[in-house]
Every structure is written in structure tokens, then in C-alpha cells.
Symmetry: C2
Subunit: 293 residues, 2 copies
Amino acid sequence: MKVAICGLGLIGGSLAKAIKKNTSHIVYGMNRTKSVVDEAIKQEAVDYAITPEELADMDIVILGLYPQKTVDFVLENINNFKKGAIVADTCGIKEYVVNSLEKPLAEKGINFLGCHPMAGREFSGFAYATDNLFENASMIVTPTENTPAEVVAKMREFSKEIGFERYVVTTPQEHDRIIAYTSQLAHVVSSAYIKSPTCKKQVGFSAGSFKDLTRVAKLNPEMWTSLFIKNKTALVKEIDCIIKNLTEYRDLIDGEKEQELYESLAYGTKCKEDSIAMNVKRVEDIINKRDKK
Amino acid sequence: MKVAICGLGLIGGSLAKAIKKNTSHIVYGMNRTKSVVDEAIKQEAVDYAITPEELADMDIVILGLYPQKTVDFVLENINNFKKGAIVADTCGIKEYVVNSLEKPLAEKGINFLGCHPMAGREFSGFAYATDNLFENASMIVTPTENTPAEVVAKMREFSKEIGFERYVVTTPQEHDRIIAYTSQLAHVVSSAYIKSPTCKKQVGFSAGSFKDLTRVAKLNPEMWTSLFIKNKTALVKEIDCIIKNLTEYRDLIDGEKEQELYESLAYGTKCKEDSIAMNVKRVEDIINKRDKK
């Protein structure tokens, strides 16, 4: 297949490298800053540079861009894609992107599939792209009732070739609700945590828990601003939930409610144990069931 | 030296193993459940079992007990310690323990030094004790104006022998304020995080950030209930601070305040970068300065 990657940042660049390493597909690259394409070609992450007009020859076009840029780029190039091709994004939110692009592309006979490769690093840009970023990672795809089954099947095969460990099929809405919790909330909480004035005194007093809680506080503000606002309903709901839980702990501690605090902490421990068990034991079942849908 | 460890749980047991592995001191063990002492002797983590009366022969007595049990045990055995001996606790809070024990022990001619070995695991009990738990860890000690300098110096030497990487000297009050942030808050937030109803749907949607944020949600409810309540002033202040920061994020996201959200996230990223730089570059300076006090 001929695969184009538009936007050779951390995700686009890592996809290019993983495709080149693990498959025999031909990879075409495009990037706002031209020197990045040159570098990608030099590193053999990309076989050829490509112009917007040459997208007409591609079987799969992957967008490695932020949500708004993804939508803008596809709509600007809507007449450049090949009939029957698959256009796939890699954004961390899906409803906004799918709603913006599926219909206009379908009207031109082009398939759109929302994709979210579940991996990242604290750094941005092609310089940090690696060919193994997606090992142990899930590829989440969000077809709608209009998506042909063969498009979902083709992307499953492609994801497997690239090296993703899991392929998860869900709806754009469910994706956004769960991602608000598993990924977006983590970044909000980590950022809120690091801002305490006490942080400046922390040297020598920090064990693993502080490091874990604040790791993702170093983030790409431009990207996350866009992701947070475009998924605000689900994310605000999760922030409200953790504020409620924190307020409960605050009041139990302040009121020295020993027994209730014990029970509340024990319940949290049980939730975590259930979560671990779910991941360890049921992951295969759940994914198989989802995939069969 | 003759060193007694009273309470052979995760911390007491790991200290016993590390002392036996790295030093030639003789280790005596005591534990509520007698079979644990037998097991410790069998594993050569402890040389001999000891009775409360035999504490009179010990140069250093280390308490591996929860805060209330630490205080109760020392007061019950106040006539059993040797004049000039060092009694040291290992609790995660210091002001309560130091205030309860320093004076009664001093009146008997016994030195008390508040100690906090900064290490832990998600598991409790001697079965999980390891001889390398304190590698890369800080030993924090909290002398007061009444503590003889030679007691602080002796514990420094002993900590180094045991294998601690750093020795941090601070006041009980400063310890409790900073620990409320670096350790206690991490456990509260992690526990509050895992309790979202969305957690049950998280399989296949979780990357590293969710795992990091919820790792310490699996905790020992009995121990943390006691630590939280006994340090409630400092901890409630930190919980209030993160709730305030989370509420700010919530309102910026809900109000789609793009520019302000961007700036707020960028500030969080800067705080994290500063924190990393502080740990990497200034750790030696800061600790040296603290130690010279």
C-alpha cells in the first residue's frame, strides 16, 4: 500500500518509523516545516515527500495533526483524496473530528476512520519519534454506523502490522467519555498538583508517589488546551467527580472521622484492585467482545 | 552496636535485612506476632529475639510501628531503655511522635530522634520486606533544639552504613508540612481518582498517565487513616490547594477560555520543569546546607 502521513510530529513520526520498520508499505510524508520531511527521509522513516495533489495516489492517509488542524487540512484537501481511500486521524478526541469529517468525505466516496493510537511522551516533535512507541499500546478506532466493516477490518490488519498490541473498537462518544477520565483528567490533576507552593520545598522529601502524580504535568499546552476544550462536557464531569471525592476526604480528615475515613480509603483500595484485576484478567475477553460488535 | 527493631513489618523488616546485609551490628527483633520474629531469624534478618526487659542492653532501638502504637510502646517501656541509648521511630509523621516522646525519654536520660525512611511499597508486612528498599532513598531525621548533636551525627553514620542515599535534617514541623504534599496528598488524590464510575470502563483505554495517577490508590487504610488525621492541618491545606487549582481548570475549560487555559497549563509545565531541575541540579547543595544547620 501507499501510505501518506501528514504531520510528522511525535505521533506521525513514530507511525512512519514503525511502518517502515515493521511493514513493506511505501511511506510518503508531508509536514508544515519542510526540513522535518527531509530529516525523516534521511532517517528512512519516510520514503518520499509528497504534495497535496499527490494524495490522490494514496491508499491510506494518516493525519498527525492537532484536532482543528486535522479538520482544516482534510476539508482544504477534500478533492485531493482517492475514491475508496481511507483517511484516518490520530487525535485524542474523536466526536468532534468524526462529526466534522465523516460526512464531507463520504460524499466524495472516501472513507474516514477516527483513530487514537494510545501512546505519548513528555516531549513533542519528530526529534522524539521512535519506532517502538506503539509497542504495548492500544489502537482505538471509532467507526460509526456509516463506516464500512472492511474499513475497520483493514485498519485492524494495518495496526497489527505496525506493532500495536491491542485494537479497540468503540464509538466516538464512548471514546471521548472514557478518555476524559483515563488521559485528560490525569493531565489536569497532575498540573493542578504541581502548582502547590510547597512544591518548591520538595527536594529530598519525595518518594515515588510524588514523581508518579506529577509526571505528566510537563505537557504540550497548545495540544491539551485544544483537546480539553473540544471534550469539555465529559472532562468537566470527571473534574467535578474528583473534586467531590477530594472534598469528602478533606472533610473526613478535618473532622477526624477515623472509621469513615478508614472505610473510604479501603473502598479506594478495592477500586484499584478491581481495576488491576480487570486489566490483567479480563482484557482479552472485553476486547474480543468489543471487536465482534 | 546492638540494635533492636520493634515491629518487623515492611519498614522494620526491610531495615533489619539492610542492617544485616550492610553492617556488622547485631540485630534483635520483637514483634506482636511471634512467628514473624521466628521467620526473620530463619531468614537471617534478625540475630536474636528480644523481650521488653532486654531492651535495657540496646544501643539503638528502632520502632517499626504505626504512630499511636509507637507512642504507646515507648511509654509502656519507658523504664526498659538504656541510659544514653537512641530510640528512633520510623513514622510518616513527626510532630505528633516527637512531641509525645522526646520529653518523657529525656527525663530518663534517653535520646529520642524522629526518623522517616522515605521508602515504601504497595504491600505491607515482613513478607514484602527487602534488603534494598532504602537504596536511592532519603533518611529524614527531625531533631529539636534539645537533641544532642552527636545523636544526629550517629544516626547519619548509621543511615549511611544501612545504605540510604541521602540524609536530610529538618524540623518535625517542616517535615510534616512537606510530607503532607509529597506523600500524603499523593495518596489522597490517587484514591479520589480511582473512585470515578468511569474507572469500570477503562480497560484498553489506559496509557501510562492513568497508571501513574492511580498507582498508590492501593494503600494500607489503617496506616494512612492514622497518618492523615495526625497531620490534618497541613494535609487539609494541601487538599484545599489542589481543589482550588482543579476548580480553576474546570472553570477555564467549561468557559472555553482558550488563552487563559493555555497559559495556566504552560505555567504547570514550568513548575514541573523547575521541580525536575531542582531535584537534578540542586539536591546536593540543598541537602548540604540543611545538614550544616
